[in-house]
C-alpha cells in the first residue's frame, strides 16, 4: 500500500529565509509525486509534480522539489520565503494503475514571521 509521511507538523521561518519541507513516501513502483498548498479559505492548489526525468522539478510560486529514490523522499524547497507562503502544504503519492486516487500526507503548517 502506498503511504506518505510528512514528519514536520508545523514549521516557522522568517520572511526571506530558505525553506525545506520534508516528505517521505512508500510505493511499490515508480510513483507519481505531488506537492499541494492549501491557503486559508482556499482549495488545494497544485504546486508541482514529478513522475520521471530530471529529479529536480520546478513549480509555481518559486518552489522546487527534488526526488531522491534512494531516500524515498520528495522534499519541497524555496530559496526565499514570502509572507504569502504561509499555508498548509501537502505531499501526495499516486500510481498509474486503476486506482487513481492520491494518498496524502498529514500536512505541514508553515508560519512566516515578518
Amino acid at each position: 500500500a502506498q503511504s506518505v509521511t510528512q514528519p514536520d507538523i508545523h514549521i516557522t521561518v522568517s520572511e526571506g529565509a530558505s525553506l525545506e519541507l520534508r516528505c517521505n513516501y512508500s510505493y511499490g513502483a515508480t510513483p507519481y509525486l505531488f506537492w499541494y498548498v492549501q491557503s486559508p479559505g482556499q482549495g488545494l492548489q497544485l504546486l508541482l509534480k514529478y513522475f520521471s526525468g530530471d529529479t529536480l522539478v520546478q513549480g509555481i510560486k518559486g518552489f522546487e522539489a527534488e526526488f531522491k529514490r534512494s531516500q524515498s523522499s520528495f522534499n519541497l524547497r524555496k530559496p526565499s520565503v514570502h509572507w504569502s507562503d504561509a499555508a498548509e502544504y501537502f505531499c501526495a503519492v499516486g500510481g498509474s494503475g486503476s486506482a487513481r486516487q492520491l494518498t496524502f500526507g498529514s500536512g505541514t503548517q508553515l508560519t512566516v514571521l515578518p
Binding site: 510528512q6 507519481y32 482549495g43 499516486g94 498509474s96
Partner: protein
C-alpha cells in the same frame, strides 16, 4: 472559468441526523473524487467516479457513507446517522480523467461539517 463548487460551505448537524453534501465539478471533467480532511489527519480518500464506470468506493469508512454522481456531473455525498467523529472538512476534486499526473486534480473549497 468556474472551478469546483461545493455546497454548503458549512454545515452543523445534530448527532444521528442525515446530511447531504454537494459537489459541482468543472464542466467536462469526467473524474470526480471525494476526500475527507480531519484535523491533523491529512486528506483521506473516500470515493472516486470515472465516467460511467463503477465507482471506487474503497475509501468509504462505513456503510453510513454513500455517494452518487448523476448524469456524470454533480455528485452528492450522503452521511446517514451522523456521528461526532464524522466532523471534518469534506473536499471534492475533479479532473479530466487520466492519471493524476496527466490530469491534475482541481479541488473545491470544501464543506466543513460539524456534528454536535
Amino acid at each position: 472559468g468556474a472551478g469546483v463548487s461545493q455546497s454548503p460551505s458549512n454545515k452543523v448537524t445534530e448527532k444521528g441526523k442525515d446530511v447531504e453534501l454537494r459537489c459541482d465539478p468543472i464542466s467536462g471533467h469526467t473524474a470526480l473524487y471525494w476526500y475527507r480532511q480531519s484535523l491533523g489527519q491529512g486528506l483521506e480518500f473516500l470515493i472516486y467516479f470515472q465516467g460511467n464506470s463503477a465507482p471506487d468506493k474503497s475509501g468509504l469508512p462505513s456503510d453510513r457513507f454513500s455517494a452518487e454522481r448523476t448524469g456524470g456531473s454533480v455528485s452528492t455525498l450522503t452521511i446517514q446517522r451522523t456521528q461526532q467523529e464524522d466532523s471534518a472538512v469534506y473536499l471534492c476534486a475533479s479532473s479530466g480523467g487520466g492519471t493524476p499526473y496527466n490530469s491534475p486534480l482541481h479541488f473545491g473549497n470544501g464543506t466543513r461539517l460539524t456534528v454536535t
